[in-house]
Point group: C2
Chain length 221, copies 2
DNA sequence: CAACTATTCAATAGATTACTTGAATAGTGA
DNA sequence: TCACTATTCAAGTAATCTATTGAATAGTTG
């Protein structure tokens, strides 16, 4: 094998990872999987893709080692293969945020109240929780919460929020988080809570980033 | 704009970054550019692509914000837009190394002496240099060296190595580095130096990684 | 064993990508 | 202005990718 050949083959392999991350639907699947192990059916449902299509995307992610899977009975459960995949996703998201004007525009257009929702940093949050000053609110669906969440977090999915406001204390600070930095669940939760007179903030990043950052987590067995 | 629409559009934007990194030739160009500003012609030459093809790849990299360019006279010089791009590349390379069996196999097959060439870590190297124990050898071409190199590094491109062995001290430890972790220049330099009886090691990572890591650098004005 | 379920496979059409070729543009120097 | 150079643009072809459809596989349940 010549030098040139080696180099080209090596870069072609690196490019496989890029290719796996070159489709929006696959990235969305990847983010859902990052919340915890998921079956093909669940992933198809949340992503809005057909099962067959979902399966094919998952196999592409698997062939590049970004996700792994295990079979249990009829179902096949997919999971992120390694934390470095979440870090890679974070790096990609970061570059997109900082260098693509389109991302900025999208966030500006959709999350109009963005600037009012100051995010809360990880270390700062742990301190406030320790001091009993803060209620941490996980607004993801119950299954995602069950698969892993921040210590002591209260789980009220966004669509159930209105009915469970009595579980929250007026005057007590609330910090909401969801799947990731751009997950709209937390943005919306904060906006709605503020409407109701609560003191609410958004946690910068979501559960996967928190976990990869080496911060403590809890899960329901 | 609906929630679903927002999410899909956002992920589609993230996917643009993945797509930009989904081609081996583009990644190779990116690594060359990471050594310092380059004109289209130079990049076409080192990559072995036609000028038109190179230009088109560069424009894709530019449209996704991974590289930037400036025009000076007839020439257009491309550079990496931001350090976070080098970090993203590093994350991608890392995931590829750790999850693609093919990468392992390639490195094993081509760099047969790989295991004998223990890499030297950044901090460790700085110490040894400070103590005057080490000669740092940059085996990249002169232009790349001129655009930026490790402090006090001696520049002998690989193809000139045989003729400049007298500049190196027998018994003095030599640490060689080149473009990046998989650049074969340093591997080969170390192998050749050892044949000649020198004590040589390879620096883990290359110049871009060193620079992004916040370590000191020098350049020729 | 037969009916059923979750997932994967295979074939297809339409869209996208990579590379080549040759022309167009913009800047330089005589 | 004219010849020259570096780069970009535009058109065309072959290859690849995405999503859809319907069938095949593998495991479960009665």
């Amino acid at each position: 094998m010549s030098k040139i050949n080696f180099k080209q083959q090596l870069f072609a392999q690196f490019a496989r990872i890029g290719k796996a991350m070159s489709n929006g639907n696959r990235l969305e699947l990847l983010e859902f999987i990052a919340q915890g192990e998921r079956s093909v059916e669940e992933l198809a449902k949340v992503s809005g893709l057909t099962v067959a299509n979902t399966s094919q995307h998952l196999q592409q992610l698997r062939q590049t080692g970004l996700v792994a899977c295990r079979k249990e009975g009829l179902k096949v459960y997919y999971r992120i293969s390694d934390n470095d995949v979440i870090e890679l996703f974070g790096a990609l998201r970061g570059v997109a945020e900082r260098h693509l004007a389109e991302v900025d525009q999208l966030v500006q257009t959709y999350l109009t109240t963005k600037d009012n929702l100051e995010p809360v940093a990880h270390a700062e949050l742990l301190e406030r929780v320790r001091d009993g000053l803060v209620t941490v609110l996980d607004v993801r669906p119950h299954e995602e919460y069950a698969a892993g969440h921040l210590p002591g977090a209260l789980n009220i999915p966004l669509n159930e929020l209105e009915g469970h406001l009595d579980e929250l204390e007026q005057g007590h600070e609330i910090v909401a988080y969801c799947r990731g930095p751009h997950c709209i669940l937390a943005f919306e939760a904060v906006a709605r809570l503020r409407e109701k007179g609560f003191t609410a903030h958004r946690l910068e990043d979501g559960y996967p980033e928190w976990m990869v950052g080496g911060m403590p987590t809890e899960k329901i067995q």
